[in-house]
């Protein structure tokens, strides 16, 4: 939820990177969205089309990658990739687990269009 404000935050980071590397434009932005982040990929994509307007990333495509929750079991120490509604350890079935992935929203990759001269970036 609250996809537009998250997108604004993301655009700030993207614009900063583009400026830092002297990019002409941004061609793609890849984000990883945890299934427990409370963020809906389709809504983030549509918010992105609003947030990118008038910025250096105006032509950029957003690529969203959904990240399944990963828990570590406090009992047996094993890591399991699980589903949002079942965060139990797959190895021992225990419910004393902690979430190490799957509640995040991460800017994973930015593709920048730059001038061919390597000294500019």
């Amino acid at each position: 939820m609250h996809e537009l404000s998250l997108c604004q935050n993301l655009m700030d980071q993207v614009n900063e990177l583009a400026r830092k590397h002297g990019a002409r434009s941004v061609s793609s932005v890849k984000v990883q969205i945890g299934q427990l982040a409370g963020v809906e990929p389709l809504l983030l994509e549509s918010a992105f089309t609003i947030a990118r307007a008038g910025t250096i990333a105006e032509q950029a495509e957003m690529i969203t990658e959904v990240v399944a929750p990963i828990v570590v079991c406090n009992d047996c120490g094993k890591e399991s990739e699980v589903t949002p509604s079942n965060l139990l350890c797959l190895a021992c079935g225990g419910n004393d687990t902690r979430l190490i992935r799957g509640d995040e929203l991460i800017l994973a990759r930015v593709e920048l269009v730059v001038d061919e001269d390597p000294q500019t970036h």
Partner: protein, 282 residues
Amino acid sequence: MCDTCGCNITDGNRHLLTPPKGRSSLGNSPAKILNNLLLHNDQQADLNRAKFDSKGVLTINLMSSPGSGKTALLEATIRQLNGSLKIAVIEGDLETENDADRIRALGVQAHQITTGTACHLDAHLVEKALDHLDLDELDVLFIENVGNLVCPASFDLGHHRNVALLSVTEGDDKPAKYPVMFRAADLMLISKTDILPYLPEFSPDRAEGCLRNLASKAPALRLSSKSGEGLEAWIAWLHSELKSYRNARQQHETVKPNVQPEGRMLHRAEPEIRFVPVKKSA
């Protein structure tokens, strides 16, 4: 969701969207300021919590679907406590004073927040409501959030504990369907158990199982505000939370609800950067 329809803009935080007088709105566009809404919310939430802590008031955020019996639970709680704890209530609804009127009818101070279209309370709305309440000598403040299993989970109000209600007329798989909400709960209350005999399809054990599947250690209590069944355990939980809270305050500490704010934050890890070189234009 909320920003898509604009409903995260409430009367409490609307001022954050209005450019200050004397400055050009160009350099301070609504979109730019919207970016900071959650940050502003969290800052206000910390101020609210400091205010509660200075008065030693344990503040509990009640969340559920509409119609799960939040107000009925408060009415039953007031009757059961019979003045043994001093409480006050902030009510959140889109419209009407109805819920606050129900609380006041029992001799307890209440303030109604009407959010208009917003589907949740935020820290600024709560701050405004505090102007209408006397926190002195108070033991517990209940904030009855807008009935909604999605957005309220994302907004810190400055409270200390989250309680999520699940009534037996809803599906027993609600915690599985709304994991972000139920993971945030410090206590789950299965309400309206007096009508369980008519609802063989609802299994309290299955509901609790769905909560455990979220690796939640929060207690799950069953109660009926109407028959009074199970209210003692809920009151005991309240007393025990109040005791832990007061112990924390003696150490000049506070307690925070079991929310997972990291989830909605954009992590500041360095992204991979790929360059697409193009020929320099002359």
